[in-house]
């Protein structure tokens, strides 16, 4: 990493000067006849880079359930809590922490759903997610996540950037900064959203103080999949080709005159923009997928929605996209959780399971880390009346799971008390989670740094240890 750090300094200098260029070698080739060459050279900020040590995963698909589902109704079975349903919450428990919405001493509320064991590992999952459950032996659940924020947007920022306020780069940005891209015709960090954007807004895939080239690019469900991808009315593909050629011809005149490598870069970027006008629609066009595949995901050719996004996620990592971030909104069940979570779980169970199965059958799961998480979990106490029971935010003990990309399947990390309220063994912080993800990608989280305001910043701030138990 020492060598890389020196390189970082060079790159940093380049960003400062505006020189995000292709460098001398590419410049020479452009000045020759080799027009449009975009081979990444040493100072291309998105060139593919080697990791600190052998990487277990090359790409990441990170599903964030915006609003935060109840771990107690999906992953963690607490029979004792179920027995206590309707009893007043123990006084000391109520006084032990601040709640977002609960203001008076609430009743306990066990899950209304059945749990059962799955696979050889015998992990329990609830009846709401039978298809995910069936893959228990591929999945490692961290039962003992804990965060620091009890409100959605700060918690979303904390989960995505390791810091509960604005200004820091998101995990996808860090990863792209660390590893670069393996596909020149697509962005290296792609974001897809079902429902509304989470409260923290676009900062959830922002690049913070990292150069903006590392920010996520949203592939949108309606309109242009990438903003401004389609030509204005009446401008046909051949016309666009001619216009781009003319722009680049004139830019090459300038390049010859002024010799600024930035112009060479811009020529390359116009070529890439033109290529994206076909590569992105190709990617988004799922009509070529077999009926079996669509049946597996529950997707429909060229439709939108979560199932289609899962299918697109597979298509993206297949093409070498480094980091795919899916957001699915609608998990903030403060009331009527029984019906609501059932509906939501139903909408994601099949697609997520399909994604794992599909990656596996294509031999991609070994290289692809799939993460399913949320900004926090939910309380074992009821919010509101039992008749319209909901659950409040809970940051002190919640679950996320991972699969593929060097994760040991069938593992459960940590233990919580009988009520699912507090961690009793092996707590895993958000920084630990981040350290684990970077580790699986072959990066030492203490060495992936960026100097800003005189300080070497890390995704993991000043903490974090990879969770050894889930490494295969």
């Amino acid at each position: 990493m020492t060598k890389d750090l020196n390189l970082e300094l060079t790159r940093r200098e380049l960003f400062r000067t505006g020189g995000m260029g292709l460098g001398a070698s590419a410049l020479m080739s452009l000045l020759g006849n080799d027009v449009g060459a975009t081979e990444p050279s040493f100072d291309n900020p998105l060139r593919a880079r080697h990791s600190d040590y052998p990487a277990r995963a090359k790409s990441v698909i990170y599903i964030h359930m915006i609003g935060a589902p109840s771990q107690l109704d999906l992953y963690v079975d607490k029979p004792k809590l179920r027995e206590m349903t309707g009893e007043l919450c123990p006084e000391e428990l109520f006084n032990s922490q601040q709640f977002a919405f609960i203001r008076s001493r609430p009743k306990m509320y066990g899950s209304q759903f059945k749990f059962r064991q799955f696979g050889e590992s015998g992990q329990t999952f609830s009846e709401l997610i039978p298809e995910i459950g069936a893959l228990a032996d591929d999945i490692a659940v961290i039962e003992t996540m804990h965060g620091e924020q009890i409100n959605h947007s700060p918690a979303q920022l904390f989960m995505q950037t390791g810091f509960g306020r604005f200004g820091r780069p998101s995990m996808g940005s860090w990863v792209t900064y660390g590893l670069g891209s393996e596909n020149e015709n697509l962005p290296s960090f792609v974001v897809m959203v079902t429902g509304s954007v989470g409260g923290a807004g676009n900062s959830m895939w922002g690049s913070g103080f990292l150069p903006t080239i590392y920010q996520g690019v949203e592939f949108r469900a309606s309109g242009d999949p990438v903003l401004f991808l389609s030509n204005p009315r009446g401008v046909k593909k051949a016309d666009r080709r001619k216009i781009v050629d003319t722009i680049n011809q004139l830019n090459r005149e300038q390049l010859l005159d002024l010799g600024d490598p930035e112009i060479a870069t811009r020529i390359g970027q116009y070529e890439m923009a033109y290529k994206m006008q076909s590569s992105v629609p190709d990617l988004m066009d799922t009509s070529g997928e077999t009926e079996d595949t669509h049946a597996l995901y529950g997707s429909k050719p060229n439709a939108t929605g979560f199932a289609n996004n899962c299918l697109l996620a597979r298509r993206l990592v297949e093409r070498g996209v480094r980091f795919v971030q899916l957001f699915d909104q609608g998990w903030d069940h403060h009331s009527n959780i029984e019906k609501s979570i059932q509906n939501k779980a139903k909408s994601v169970d099949q697609p997520i399971a399909a994604l794992l199965k599909d990656l596996k059958q294509r031999g991609l799961l070994d290289d692809t880390l799939v993460i399913c998480g949320s900004e926090f979990g939910r309380t074992p106490m009821v919010q509101g009346a039992l008749s319209s029971a909901g659950r409040d935010h809970h940051k002190d003990c919640f679950s996320i799971w991972m699969a593929g990309g060097g994760v040991r399947g069938g593992v459960r990390v940590g233990e919580s008390d009988d009520l699912g309220f507090s961690i009793t063994k092996d707590p895993v912080s958000v920084h630990d989670f981040h350290a684990t993800v970077l580790h699986l990608l072959g990066m030492d989280h203490t060495a992936l740094t960026y100097k800003y305001q005189g300080r070497q910043f890390r995704l993991t701030d000043v903490a974090g240890e990879p969770v050894q138990q889930i490494l295969s």
Partner: protein
């Protein structure tokens, strides 16, 4: 400090138990010095003295660093030198980021201190003062250096630049040509390029001071302030919304206008600072001085349900401290929020002492329990005299129509009693309701519409952001005279509904409700609802306008209904099918969760009162409120009253539109808060109480014994001529705006981890000049653009490739891609659309649909500006933190959630797509194309001349022959091709001009090329 002491005490007692070795006399030189030498001097030695500590010099080692004492003879448990070796506290144990010392080494240190810490004078350095980091020493004006060529420098700046070049054996570049120069200085000073005519005027002005005149004109232009406000607004994290989940609109633009005005007036930077930090604390502050304090009201604020208001407040104060240190001190004091600064001499205590200055403003969150809102001190902003006159006139008008209304009301006093009697006897008997059978229900956006047994339709499953329901009903009633639409509750709906928004606010927004029968749309009228939300009256659901709607907040979780009459009764002997269409495109899933439709038979007079009114009339006793309601219902039946009432409403609206806008300001509480050091920076983990004070490493406070430890004192301290940082940091940022990077490349960090200045003498010279010339920004900018350095050309040179590949010594001007706003302003200017109107509320230029679609209540709506507003400059574009303007984001604009000192400057394919295709840019492309087409038709000039004109209009310089060839070829080929493709052509140019549309199409393509050139978006 409390924490450290207790940990230390524990450790010390442990240490005492574990080290029972018999004390031997320690020899400092042989035993202690080598340990210090090999473990400590790297960071605390002659070259580097982190934490202001040197351990290689006796005096300084005893004195200690920023935390105080270093060694107390005889008392290891009071000597940080020892304590820092054994502490378990994270980040405190020394040597930092390395293995702890071996136990026997630690023992040696402890015993040596116990034995009196004898350090022979002969060992180590005899230094008694720590040499200060360069940036903490006040600048003094250096002499102009000797240079190789006295002809070259045009002003003092150039001497420093040339001297450096001389020392490197590099020669400066030649002067840039006039055309490129005029474009450069326009872009740098006002932020958009000169027009074709302005370029011609300049190059034809042969007077010796033509350039100076040009510069003076630009410095005096009001557009100078618009251009230069942008970097300051980045520092100020200026945005029009809160940030976080409740990312609502804030009225903050008066601050933006204040900045632009201040820059245009060349307000001295010390005053500029004092007014922004503490304008409210000046004696009898003017309105403008109060608006200036908006600077620190621009922090993000989380008012999401369930937040902790006090924590939100603390986060704001922390942001104020950090931003102040970054902007005025170029220092990253932020690091000392949780612990003493690792590298720079700021202690954690000093951080909170600085925080204490900002800790005395009122909380900015209103609300109780779990629902909160943005809040805090505001003032009304006066407008111009003309506008105030208008306001007074409007007020008079309102009073006069109000009197009319009172008169009219009095007329009807008698009629009321009579009407009341009628009401008491009237009944609704003849009117009957019949639930209609739903037969088919479809959601256009993927929700599942289930028909329940009671004929209501429940929306389940997918909860789309927006939806339109189409529901079919059958009726076998012989005659229908009206309809009732019910929005019902259901257990499956969030908070029981009736809307599908959130469980806390299960609202719906029904924009349009239409009924179709036999291919006709039924004319619905006389809408009555059991309840309507303010400004969302039920009549708005049938007004044919989708920008208005019926909604029911805050009457959630209960059923609601709306009744409508139809103009002509539907009569039929056989069963009929009716189709209902409910448009609910407000967003955020504000759709009705359960719908039922009933038909009315019998009569209701179209001005018949609602059941509520009849019930009220029937009551034996009414309270005052009910009486008032009844009286109003009566009055509303009188046309004269309605007319008079409308006049009053109109007058009120007019008055409201003329009302002074508000601005957010700071204000000091009568009783200041107590400020405590927060242990590890943790909320509520209070350490010792601290009092407001400034960091000791910097210049002293103005008056040591002043009672006034307030923001005003801090502001004056920041701009004291003694402050070694403020002038350097400020001129360095401007330097970076002109030259691509600062002389100190790390513009945000002048501390020990920051870069050293490339031209330290020049930096100091400019800093002193700045302060001595009345803190005038325009003076510094004038010096820069009049320098020979600035007027060099920007061509790459083979010799520099090796000697100075990153152009640190400025032997040529760097080329720089412009800022996001600069690019838009430039395109507007070239296309001829630029509108220079200044000030006022933010503008909403076109952006694709669906950019603003984030969770959260009362989200503002993006109502695209029409007419000239959409062509105003980028600084006026609405800045919503959760989703900033996408054409800006793609060109590295920040989200303005925190202070940004310098934006990155990337070069990506998304930028190409934006300029090629963004409808906003395409609009400019078309405007330019139409202009060129028109000009071609107006004047009989050759194609080559036309192309040259278009090129010069875009990038100011003349094209080469080859460039003209390339563009002419495109034109000729395009005209030929488009003429063969009439359908494509029609799509491209519409019906504008049938006779010459292929030419117009070709100009569109040329305009598209020109507006995408690297040169067009680059400051050469």
């Amino acid at each position: 400090m409390i924490r450290r002491t207790s940990i230390y005490t524990a450790l010390v007692s442990l240490a005492l138990v574990s080290t029972q070795a018999i004390a031997q006399q320690i020899d400092f030189e042989k035993q202690v010095w080598p340990i210090l030498q090999s473990n400590c001097f790297d960071c605390h030695g002659e070259a580097i003295h982190e934490g202001n500590l040197r351990l290689d010099a006796k005096t300084l080692a005893f004195r200690g660093g920023i935390t105080g004492i270093g060694i107390v003879s005889g008392k290891p448990d009071q000597s940080p030198l020892y304590l820092r070796l054994v502490t378990a506290a994270e980040g405190e144990r020394m040597p930092a980021e390395r293995e702890a010392l071996a136990e026997d080494q630690i023992d040696v240190i402890r015993q040596w201190i116990e034995q009196g810490a004898k350090w022979p004078d002969s060992v180590g350095s005899d230094a008694t003062e720590i040499s200060r980091h360069w940036a903490y020493v006040s600048p003094s004006r250096p002499e102009l250096p000797m240079v190789s060529d006295f002809q070259w420098p045009l002003n003092p700046l150039d001497y420093f630049i040339l001297q450096k070049l001389d020392s490197k054996g590099i020669s400066p570049s030649s002067r840039i040509d006039q055309r490129r120069l005029v474009r450069r200085v326009y872009l740098d000073l006002v932020g958009y390029p000169p027009t074709y005519e302005q370029v011609e005027h300049f190059v034809n002005d042969s007077s010796p001071d033509a350039y100076q005149k040009l510069v003076e004109g630009l410095l005096a232009s009001p557009q100078y302030g618009v251009r230069w406000a942008r970097p300051w607004l980045d520092l100020a994290r200026y945005a029009d919304s809160n940030g976080y989940q409740a990312d609502q609109y804030r009225n903050v633009w008066p601050f933006r206008d204040w900045v632009i005005n201040a820059l245009n007036n060349d307000m001295p930077f010390d005053q500029f600072t004092i007014e922004q930090i503490a304008g409210d604390l000046l004696d009898e502050p003017t309105q403008s001085q109060q608006i200036a304090t908006g600077f620190h009201r621009l922090t993000t604020l989380n008012v999401e349900g369930g937040t902790d208001p006090e924590l939100s407040r603390l986060n704001q104060v922390i942001d104020r401290v950090n931003t102040t240190a970054t902007v005025w001190l170029g220092s990253t004091i932020e690091c000392s929020q949780c612990h003493n600064h690792k590298y720079d001499p700021f202690s954690q205590k000093e951080y909170y002492e600085l925080l204490a200055y900002f800790n005395n403003t009122p909380i900015e969150v209103s609300g109780k329990s779990s629902a909160f809102n943005f809040y805090g001190p505001t003032i009304n902003v006066n407008r111009s005299l003309k506008e105030r006159r208008k306001y007074i006139a409007a007020e008079e008008k309102k009073q006069s129509v109000q009197k009319d209304l009172e008169k009219v009301t009095a007329q009807f006093d008698e009629g009321y009693g009579q009407w009341l009697q009628e009401m008491k006897t009237q009944s609704t008997e003849s009117q009957e309701w019949h639930i209609l059978r739903a037969t088919n229900a479809v959601s256009t956006n993927g929700a599942t519409l289930k028909i329940l047994e009671d004929h209501s339709v429940l929306s389940t499953g997918e909860n789309p952001d927006k939806d339109v329901y189409e529901i079919e009903f059958t009726s076998d009633l012989p005659e229908i005279t009206g309809f009732k639409l019910e929005a019902l509750t259901h257990d499956e709906l969030p908070g029981k509904g009736p809307g599908r928004f959130t469980a806390e606010r299960p609202n719906f927004v029904l924009q349009e409700f239409t009924l179709h029968h036999g291919g006709n749309v039924l004319k619905l009228s006389d809408a009555l609802a059991d309840f309507s939300q303010t400004n969302f009256e039920v009549s708005k659901a049938i007004d044919g306008d989708e920008s208005t709607a019926w909604a029911i907040a805050p009457q959630f979780s209960k059923p609601h209904s709306a009744e409508f009459l139809i103009q002509e009764a539907i009569e039929s002997d056989s069963p009929i099918t009716l189709k209902a269409r409910l448009v609910m495109n407000y967003g955020g899933s504000r759709v009705i969760g359960r719908v039922r439709l009933s038909a009315m038979t019998g009569q209701r007079k179209s001005n018949a009162p609602s059941k509520r009114i009849l019930d009220l009339a029937a009551k034996l006793e009414r309270n005052a409120k009910e009486e008032q309601e009844l009286h109003n219902a009566f009055l509303k039946l009188q046309p004269e009253y309605v007319q008079a009432q409308k006049a009053v409403t109109d007058a009120e609206k007019a008055l409201l539109a003329l009302q002074a806008p508000t601005a957010l300001v700071m204000s000091e509480m009568e009783k200041p808060r107590e400020t405590y050091l927060l242990i590890r920076g943790e909320y509520k983990n209070n350490g010792d109480r601290v009092l407001a004070s400034t960091p000791s490493i910097l210049h002293a406070q103005l008056e040591e014994d002043s009672e006034q430890r307030d923001r005003l004192e801090l502001a004056r301290w920041l701009v004291s001529p003694e402050n070694p940082l403020v002038a350097r940091v400020t001129v360095n940022r401007w330097w970076a705006e002109f030259f691509g990077k600062g002389m100190v490349v790390t513009e945000e960090d002048f501390g020990s981890q920051g870069d050293l200045p490339t031209h330290p003498e020049l930096l100091d010279w400019l800093a002193v000049e700045f302060m001595e010339q009345g803190w005038s920004m325009k003076h510094i900018h004038r010096l820069i653009v009049n320098s020979a350095t600035y007027q060099q050309n920007s061509k790459a040179r083979p010799d520099l490739q090796e000697l100075d590949p990153t152009n640190r010594w400025l032997a040529r001007m760097p080329r720089m891609r412009m800022s996001a706003e600069g690019i838009r302003d430039t395109m507007l200017q070239i296309s001829g659309l630029l509108e220079l109107q200044m000030g006022g509320e933010p503008i909403y230029p076109p952006q694709p649909a669906g950019i603003w679609r984030h969770v959260g209540r009362n989200a503002p709506k993006y109502n695209t500006s029409q007419q000239t507003d959409r062509y105003r400059r980028g600084v006026y574009v609405i800045w919503r933190r959760s989703a900033p303007y996408p054409a800006f984001t793609n060109f590295d604009a920040p989200d303005r959630t925190s202070c940004v000192v310098s934006r990155s400057r990337t070069n990506t394919p998304l930028q190409a797509l934006t300029l090629l295709n963004d409808p906003m840019y395409w609009e400019m492309t078309q405007a330019l194309g139409q202009h060129l087409h028109q000009r071609q038709r107006d004047g009989a000039v050759s194609l080559r001349e036309m192309v040259s004109y278009a090129f010069m209009r875009t990038v100011s310089r003349k094209p080469s022959e080859r460039e003209v060839d390339i563009l002419s070829n495109l034109y000729i080929e395009t005209v030929a091709q488009l003429s063969d493709r009439p359908a494509d052509l029609m799509e491209l140019v519409g019906q504008k001009d049938k006779s010459a549309s292929a030419e117009l199409g070709a100009w569109y393509y040329l305009a598209n090329v020109l507006l995408n050139l690297d040169e067009t978006i680059t400051r050469n």
